[in-house]
């Protein structure tokens, strides 16, 4: 069930009023869990078993960890934590990476001439939607329980809702247990501001997704389908198109998720903070997919050693984090390459900044000039989206060589693809990154009369619907 589909609209129309009509918090949570399971089963009911298994395993795992921790037996608690993490990672590894490792193993075996063994291995594992997100939620709960930041026995209902809450179930934002679980303790309330913020988020999210991202998507798809046959102008426009599309698509999803959660009284963290205004790659990762980058920092980078130890160790930690972050996005060498290159640039930035203080690091840009820093950072981000989107290494190489060799293309293919208007590529992203950023951070902007504000909001939202292209296009991050 996609957020931009009629079925989701009907689903929300049924669930939302029922939720607010229910008298008790437990009943409301029960309804949300049920609705979330229906939402998930809409794609493929067979994976409900897997989702239930993840919920139950982390529920019992966290209980065992808490029990041992309260007894003061830290070693035993650690053992249970590792068992719990092992189960969650095994689920993720099997469903998400089995095919990838199997394909690579086959190549390795075939290169050694072992063909019979290879053929007996082949079977396909279906990728359950949202698995990367809900297993990360499960890991968060187990680790936070071990760390003591979650220091109470969480009921099965709360665990189920934390893992499966439908607005963030399939593509985040990744919510910390410490942020979400306290919200489950008391009956949620709802006021005019909540309604306004929720509708504003949903409206913006839809504008990003169904108007901007979906308008660019067909052109981007066509360009990345035939990178070897197109001229550098098409390739440049295609790469720029994806640079814009992925931002509008994923930020659109995140905003709708945040808005829909708010309609139920729950607050989810922001996932984007104008990443294309970043003046360094470090700064970019503080603004892009914030819930993932902070998760990787707190649950991978810091446990690996973080900024402690020698510079070499710090660089190793950073590279490991980014490589695994790349692999988290998908089981493909292209994602590993993408993560690795981001890691390499982050390491370079770390080396350049040397031993500056934390405050200086925060303000650090790759160049002393902010504009130059912004230009260099955005070029790097732009180029690194190419392997992220391309189907494989060969396409990535063809794309980049075609773009930089100023190659001319094959006119029949180009005629079929048709060049997208540059204004469509440039204007929305520039408007969002600069004008909207200024509007959003303008704290002193005048507050309108509530009725007027709501009326304008509803009218603007309806105009967004009018601008939307027909035909459903799934969100890019659903595949992760």
């Amino acid at each position: 069930m996609l957020f931009n589909s009629g079925s989701f609209f009907c689903f929300l129309i049924l669930v939302l009023p029922t939720y607010w009509l229910l008298p008790s918090n437990s009943l409301r949570k029960l309804l949300l869990v049920g609705a979330s399971l229906v939402f998930y089963a809409w794609w493929d009911w067979r994976f409900l078993g897997l989702l239930s298994f993840v919920i139950l395993s982390v529920f019992f795992g966290a209980r065992l960890v808490l029990w041992q921790r309260r007894k003061g037996n830290r070693r035993r608690a650690l053992l249970y934590l590792w068992c719990c993490l092992g189960v969650e990672l095994a689920v993720l590894g099997f469903f998400k990476y089995f095919n990838f490792f199997e394909a690579n193993l086959l190549v390795a075996l075939q290169s050694l001439g072992v063909h019979a063994a290879a053929s007996s291995l082949t079977f396909r594992v279906l990728l359950p939607i949202g698995i990367s997100f809900y297993t990360f939620h499960a890991i968060t709960l187990a680790v936070d329980t071990f760390r003591g930041t979650v220091d109470r026995e969480v009921s099965l209902l709360d665990v189920a809702l934390y893992i499966a809450f439908f607005p963030q179930l399939v593509a985040g934002p990744i919510v910390r247990a410490t942020v979400f679980l306290p919200q489950l303790a008391a009956k949620r309330t709802f006021n005019g501001e909540d309604l306004f913020v929720a509708l504003q988020s949903v409206g913006l999210g839809f504008l990003y997704k169904v108007v901007f991202a979906d308008a660019i998507a067909p052109f981007v798809d066509s360009v990345f389908k035939a990178p070897g046959q197109l001229s550098w102008v098409y390739l440049l426009a295609g790469a720029l198109g994806f640079y814009c599309q992925i931002y509008f698509d994923f930020n659109g999803y995140s905003l709708i998720a945040i808005g829909v959660s708010r309609l139920f009284g729950y607050r989810l963290p922001d996932n984007f903070n104008f990443p294309y205004s970043a003046t360094s790659l470090t700064n970019f990762w503080r603004r892009w997919h914030i819930s993932l980058s902070t998760w990787l920092r707190d649950y991978l980078y810091i446990p690996l050693g973080g900024n402690r130890g020698t510079l070499l160790k710090q660089l190793r930690n950073l590279m490991c984090t980014m490589l695994l972050g790349g692999l988290w996005h998908g089981a493909s060498w292209n994602f590993v390459l993408w993560g690795g290159l981001h890691g390499a640039v982050l390491c370079a930035e770390k080396l350049i900044q040397g031993g500056r203080s934390t405050q200086e690091q925060r303000d650090f840009s790759i160049s002393t000039s902010l504009v130059a820093g912004w230009v260099i950072t955005q070029i790097i981000v732009f180029l690194l989206w190419i392997p992220f989107r391309a189907a494989n290494f060969q396409d990535t190489l063809a794309f980049i060589t075609g773009m930089f060799s100023l190659r001319s293309g094959q006119s029949p293919v180009e005629q079929q693809v048709g060049l997208i208007p540059w204004l469509l590529l440039v204007l929305p992203i520039v408007c969002d990154t600069f004008a909207v950023r200024s509007l959003r951070v303008w704290r002193e902007k005048p507050a309108l009369n509530p009725e007027m504000a709501f009326a304008i909001l509803i009218l603007a939202g309806l105009c967004v619907v009018m601008l939307a292209k027909t035909g459903l296009r799934p969100f890019i991050y659903f595949q992760f």
Binding site: M1, S5, G6, S7, F9, C10, W42, N191, G192, E193, L195, F196, Q200, G203, L204, L207, V211, F212, A215, P421, L423, L424, L427, P428, C431, D432, A435, V436, L439, R440, K445, P446, A447, L448, P450, E451, M452, A453, F454, A455, I456, L457, I458, L459, A460, G461, L462, C463, V464, V465, M466, L467, A468, K469, T470, G471, L472
Partner: protein, 373 residues
């Protein structure tokens, strides 16, 4: 240019809006409902819905039929034959050839054809409705003076399911264009006929898509082309000849042997049950002509699939199908019993289409000359 410019305007408006932090009271009802009402009125008055889905084949097909009607002086025409169908007709029945044969046999006629690959009954009804709606008053008057014969394709897959191919086209402009309130009773009657309690759950994706499309059309939402200048409609050809054979085509013995098989009771019961929805549609087809009297004639293509052949045989025997052409009593089956004339088990190649068109035209001539049509 509408998307970037209007989109950025909306972006600025949405981002700039703000209410006082800590606003506890809910907005008054009119602030939510008035904009919705205003918007619906403005949209529906200023931007008619059918224009919103130009990516449907309907405008192109209607245009070619209109052009053909405009080019011909109806004074010399006695019969207007209107053919509607899916890909079987689009590949297998050439309206121009039918017209030539009719004229050769002394039946002054004009043949209009509305057929398109993947067009189900709902979509074909939309074509017909749009064509009739586009007729000028003088054309309507002229048609009242002539004999209008509506020739409707019969085919098992499409007849069993008026939404056949709906999911393939999804909620695109093509399916949105025909999923208006007009077609809702047909869909509902078909769904209640076909789906048991469990099927309603199993088919949830289709159902949700249908509801989404209906709601979209009910509120006349539409999309960009409402505001942009529409590109000029391009004529769509209703007959496109197949010149190759599908590699998947595997003929099994003789076409005549397939056609000779008599359907068993279970099959006929299933045919009968799945066709109840068509009664309402038959009435719709008759009513759509704005008072122009029309006769109906059904035609079916021979098939290498036994189920299709059985269905055609069964349909021929149904009451109210006096004019039904499937080649029975003609040398059609014999002539088409050559695999090289076929694209696949259902669709003809060009030489096959020529044979079928000729035989169909002769059938019409015979019925017209015997004064029964």
């Amino acid at each position: 240019m509408v998307i970037p410019l209007v989109g950025c305007g909306l972006l600025a408006v949405l981002a700039a809006l703000r209410v006082s932090p800590g606003l506890t009271r809910m907005p008054r009802w009119y602030s939510l409902l008035l904009p919705l009402g205003l918007w619906l009125v403005v949209i529906n008055v200023s931007m008619p819905s059918p224009q919103s889905y130009p990516d449907s084949p309907a405008p192109g097909l209607v245009l070619q039929a209109q052009q053909k009607l405009n080019e011909r002086d109806l004074a010399g025409v006695q019969y207007v034959i209107l053919i509607e169908g899916s890909s079987l007709t689009m590949n297998g029945l050439d309206g121009n050839r039918v017209q030539a044969v009719l004229n050769q046999h002394g039946v002054p006629s004009l043949v209009l054809q509305l057929s398109c690959a993947g067009a189900n009954h709902l979509e074909r009804y939309e074509y017909l409705k749009e064509l009739v709606a586009a007729l000028r008053p003088d054309q309507i008057e002229a048609l009242r003076q002539r004999k209008l014969v509506l020739c409707r394709e019969v085919e098992l897959g499409y007849d069993k399911n008026p939404l056949n191919n709906f999911l393939r086209n999804g909620s695109t402009g093509r399916s949105l264009r025909y999923l208006g309130p007009d077609n809702l009773p047909i869909i509902f009657s078909w769904l209640t006929l076909r789906l048991g309690p469990l099927d309603w759950i199993r088919k949830h994706t289709t159902l949700a898509e249908i509801v989404g499309c209906e709601l979209f059309n009910l509120f006349h939402v539409g999309y960009v082309p409402r505001m942009e200048e529409l590109p000029p409609t391009v004529k769509a050809e209703p007959f496109i000849a197949n010149t190759t054979q599908s590699p998947k085509f595997t003929e099994s013995g003789s076409l005549r042997a397939v056609e000779d098989v008599v359907p068993d009771k279970r099959q006929t019961a299933s045919f009968s049950a799945s066709l109840r929805w068509q009664r309402k549609r038959d009435r719709d087809f008759r009513e759509v002509f704005r008072g122009i009297p029309a006769s109906e004639c059904y035609f079916a293509f021979p098939s290498w699939f036994k189920s299709n052949a059985d269905y055609n045989a069964w349909r021929r025997q149904q009451p109210g199908r006096e004019f039904f052409f499937d080649g029975t009593g003609t040398p059609l089956l014999e002539k088409l019993d050559t695999p090289s004339l076929w694209y696949d088990e259902l669709h003809l190649q060009l030489p096959g289409a020529e044979i079928y068109s000729e035989e169909f035209a002769k059938y019409l001539v015979e019925k017209i000359q015997s004064k029964s049509l």
